[in-house]
């Protein structure tokens, strides 16, 4: 089925209005509200560790949304990578940088008013444009699943093998880079300490 035909059929099958939502829509809306609220708390809370935990809620909410959009493989990947590893990494980062536990009054910089102004303006513009453009667009969630593991594996290893492999190289490079960045500095400091220590000893 070609893209154009799909789009045409989707447009033709413009569903019922916003006042009579389906069950999936209600679920999406509720989870979406939770996700958005958690995101807001993430960027506004004064407790740094709480921000990381609220980020878990946001990313988990997003995973649910993926499920509702029938993209189950991505949902599980989201849970695995984001909730499982990225947030843990972030928490480790917070610990290693000796982030204060509890409320820190200076979590936000002086740039806050400008930031909120830009963000609100951007949100208004984006929402307006998106709503204006896709008011009547209807997603047909029926039919064969589009994001099952089988489907994902097929398109990923049939159509996208080369980028996939290139991405693995990228990940390897990032791994090496992260190690080098962390190690080199530590080694230098260790050398400095050793030299200082030896100097003290000699003295």
């Amino acid at each position: 089925m070609s893209v154009a035909a799909t789009a045409a059929s989707a447009t033709a099958a413009a569903g019922p209005g916003f006042l009579s939502p389906s069950g999936v829509e209600i679920a999406f809306l509720l989870v979406g509200l939770v996700t958005f609220g958690a995101a807001l708390v993430t960027v506004t809370t004064r407790q740094l560790v709480h921000a990381a935990l609220w980020l878990v809620v946001t990313l988990g909410g997003l995973a649910v949304e993926y499920l509702l959009l029938t993209a189950e493989f991505i949902a599980w990947v989201q849970v695995l990578i984001y909730v499982g590893s990225v947030v843990v990494l972030l928490l480790f980062g917070l610990m290693l940088t000796k982030a204060p536990i509890g409320r820190s009054p200076d979590a936000d910089s002086g740039n806050r008013p400008v930031a909120s102004a830009v963000a609100v303006a951007a949100a208004a513009a984006l929402v307006w444009v998106v709503v204006d453009a896709f008011r009547t667009t209807w997603i047909d969630l029926g039919g064969p699943a589009q994001g099952s593991t089988e489907v994902s594996g097929r398109f990923l290893f049939r159509n996208w093998v080369l980028p996939f492999e290139a991405l693995s190289v990228l990940l390897l490079a990032a791994l090496v880079g992260a190690i080098v960045l962390s190690r080199k500095n530590g080694a230098a400091r260790a050398d400095g300490n050793a030299a200082g220590g030896s100097g003290k000893e000699q003295r």
């Binding site: 979406g32 991505i74 940088t97 998106v130 398109f155 159509n159 190690i179």
Partner: protein, 116 residues
């Protein structure tokens, strides 16, 4: 399902992340906000992919790639933040002002000496 729901949610999440990037002081919180923005984009990609019923599933494939790139980014980013914290003793973004010409609020006395 109306396409508007995921699209609007995506836009709002993106702007929330934007606010976080611009307003947060701790570098790790900034990285979290960047993750939020990336996730907003992911949601958009998935929603449109599902809507279009693309045989190649470009949107989902790209989402997977973005997740992988985001993982790499967070690894490198955290390494940098750690290094900066080790060297400077702080991970506050607005204190890392080495690119400024001179630190005016801190050194009016120095400036006076320089002109005198």
């Amino acid at each position: 399902m109306h396409l508007v729901y995921p699209a609007v949610l995506s836009a709002l999440l993106f702007c929330t992340g934007l606010y976080g990037v611009l307003a947060r002081r701790n570098a790790i919180l900034v990285l979290m906000s960047v993750e939020l923005m990336l996730n907003a984009v992911n949601l958009n990609l998935v929603a449109f992919d599902v809507w279009l019923r693309d045989t190649l599933h470009t949107g989902q494939a790209l989402t997977l790639f973005v997740i992988a790139v985001a993982a790499a980014e967070i690894g490198i980013g955290l390494a940098i933040v750690l290094m900066v914290h080790r060297n400077r003793g702080t991970s506050d973004v607005d204190r890392l002002r080495d690119t400024a010409e001179r630190q005016e609020p801190d050194a009016p006395a120095q400036k006076a000496e320089a002109t005198a």
